[in-house]
């Protein structure tokens, strides 16, 4: 057995195992952690496929940003078991339906002609000098530059929309104006009053 | 407008941060003022009030006559005195305890003493190994006095002209 095959089986084991524990875990925070392990295993598998850019982007975006935000939300959540498990039976038919659809789709994809495992075959093995990131960049900025730019504009629009949704001025908001605060100079806050001698004597 | 521009330039050239860094870099090379305690000590006033001691006369007789003025004046009730008549007919203490946890080192006992028996020395770096250790009895008080007699009398002499 080659060493890479051993690595493949180890990472696959981690991948399948951690994703299984993730969906069966009762504790949301633990489930999120198992999901992170799943992402890491997936990234390792991609590294074996010489897709290091994808692998590292997966860790950077999903593990580094998305899951952190998940953890952020989980911390705020009330993780009471009873509320989480309420109405389980109500959503059960819908859940079964969705999972059936997913299974059918996967079966169709894996058995259909062009996506068949046999017709796709093993990816080509490249040498150590092969640069995945250069290949992606060449494709992305020449052939696919137009869709790429469109996707960027779509994301920009999404950002602007998200900001405008949050940026409504609240009427009774008591938030602090930081710009005003940090622009304060000592002389704005302090006033030197000159007290003449006459009033000083009177006060005595 | 000009003022605003000046402030903008100052802000973006990190003006205030540079001021701060300048101050600390100046202090970095300045002479350090730390006193290395056990080896070096800061000067102590002759009136310093530290650990207590009981003094003796030059002929070896203990000064304390058990008048209990110190016990009466002590604001923290730290002093406990018991006395009896000695064979030669003088009144002397059989017990003289000071609880150093209670003591506030006000020096009233020293002021009240008619024979300069109880004094406060310049010793301040002492420690106890148990809670009971905080109570020092007559024997150890006298020992402290014997050991530090020269320092005690010297401090008293120095301070005498201002009393």
């Amino acid at each position: 057995m080659e060493f890479t095959s051993i690595l493949f089986y180890v990472f696959s084991l981690f991948f399948v195992g951690s994703s299984f524990v993730m969906i069966t875990s009762r504790n949301t925070a633990k489930a999120a952690l198992w999901l992170i392990l799943t992402f890491f295993s997936a990234a390792s598998l991609w590294l074996l496929l010489e897709a290091e850019f994808l692998a590292i982007t997966l860790i950077l975006i999903y593990v580094g940003a998305v899951m952190v935000l998940f953890m952020f939300v989980i911390k705020m959540l009330d993780t009471e078991e009873s509320t989480l498990r309420a109405q389980f039976t109500r959503y059960l038919p819908l859940g079964i339906f969705v999972s059936l659809v997913v299974i059918v789709q996967m079966a169709l994809v894996l058995n259909a002609g062009p996506f068949d495992l046999e017709s796709v075959g093993m990816p080509e093995q490249h040498g150590a000098s092969y640069s995945n990131i250069t290949a992606i960049a060449q494709q992305l900025y020449t052939i696919y530059v137009y869709p790429f730019e469109l996707a960027a504009i779509l994301l920009l629009i999404a950002i602007i929309a998200a900001i405008t949704l949050v940026h409504r001025t609240q009427v009774n908001s008591k938030k602090q104006n930081i710009t005003e605060q940090i622009n304060v100079q000592a002389k704005d806050r302090m006033r030197f009053a000159s007290i003449n001698k006459k009033s000083k004597k009177e006060s005595k | 407008m000009k003022k605003k521009l000046k402030k903008l330039v100052n802000d973006f050239s990190l003006g205030e941060l540079r001021t701060g860094l300048k101050v600390t870099s100046k202090e970095f090379v300045n002479k350090k003022i730390t006193v290395q305690f056990p080896e070096e000590r800061t000067p102590i006033s002759p009136r310093f009030r530290g650990l207590h001691a009981l003094r003796r006369y030059p002929n070896g007789e203990e000064r304390c006559i058990a008048c209990k003025l110190c016990e009466a004046v002590c604001p923290a009730n730290a002093i406990t005195i018991d006395s009896e008549m000695r064979e030669d007919g003088t009144r002397r203490t059989t017990q003289y305890d000071i609880d150093l946890f209670k003591c506030i080192f006000c020096g009233f006992c020293e002021e009240a003493c008619p024979v300069d028996a109880i004094v406060e020395t310049h010793i301040f770096d002492y420690a106890f190994e148990s809670r009971e250790g905080s109570i020092i009895d007559k024997k150890s008080l006298l020992e402290i006095g014997d050991k530090n007699e020269s320092a005690i009398s010297k401090a008293r002499k120095e301070d005498s002209k201002y009393r």
Binding site: F3, A29, K30, L33, I36, E52, F53, I56, T57, I59, L60, V63, G64, A65, V68, L69, M71, F72, I74, K75, S131, N132, I133, T134, Q176, I178, T179, Q181, I182 | L14, L17, G20, L21, V23, T24, S25, E27, F28, N30, K32, I33, T34, Q36
Partner: protein, 355 residues
Amino acid sequence: MWQSFVELTHQLIPWFNGSLADILIIVIKGLALIFPLIIMMAYMTYAERKVIGFMQLRIGPNRVGPFGLLQPFADVFKMLFKEIIFPSKSNIYLFLLAPILAFVPAVAVWAVVPLGEDFYIANIDVSLLYVMAIGSVGVYGIVLAGWASNSKYPLLGALRSTALLISYELVIGFVLVTVVMVASSVNLNTVVERQSGGILNWYWIPLFPMMIVFWIGALVETNRAPFDVVEGESEIVGGTHVEYSGMPFALFFMAEYFNMIFMAMLAVLMFFGGWHSPFEGIPFLEGLFAFVPDLIWLLVKMSFFLFLYFWIRASFPRFRYDQIMRLCWKVFLPLTIVWIFVVALMTQLGIGPWF
């Protein structure tokens, strides 16, 4: 007995020649990097206390060993022998996992750091991205520590740090983009190689504002003063460290210092020409300093940035949380985006020796 042993070794020899030997070499390389790092980290704590002491007109540690040079070891042994206390109702597994998750990424990033010409553990094509990715994993240590401690101050500290680190990762990402644009490579080795040829060829000149932004971002990412709101002794006692003692705490501590060394190293690699001598290409000085090895130049430059860490810590009071956020989103982010355009322009016009 002997016969069977010989047979076993004969069976194992192909393994040793192939994969196992490779793994062994990698492990040895890793240890050879980690041990000096640990010593460095230990003496950084000493240097920090000395430098800050000096800036506050004190002397700093001077009791253990000559000039207090054995102080770090005393600290290590103290930490080792301390009791590990688990807060009641805390999740022990996650509680112990947190410091490990903080420490492992802090070490793992060092895999791609080039310490000299052809002197590295791994030379991967996406090393700058790798640095970002692994660096962002370090957040989980703090997040989990706050969550698993089952205590309010750690939770507050973790909440603060999560938001902060995500925001500043963005800024640092943009700074890296400018560096990548100038160097036209995401490989740290190439980034450094392109800066060869004296102090004027280093990227700190065309990317000067980015360098400052990066450094401030680095202070935030490593939770150092004046941005140490995660700990915030005066506000939330000790933040995520409140419930930790003994070795778990030491792991957090080590992770913080490893990250500090790494950030200093990254600043040197990206803006100060890595292992290159500042006098390259200058007629007389180049020969004069030719005897200095690459690694020494690298360490000297890095030490300056580490000193800067202590200097800044001794100089400035802690920022308020919302002010740090404002600094990130309203000052640094626009600034970096503008500078990306400036760098793009400079690249197109081919200004200076940098492009």
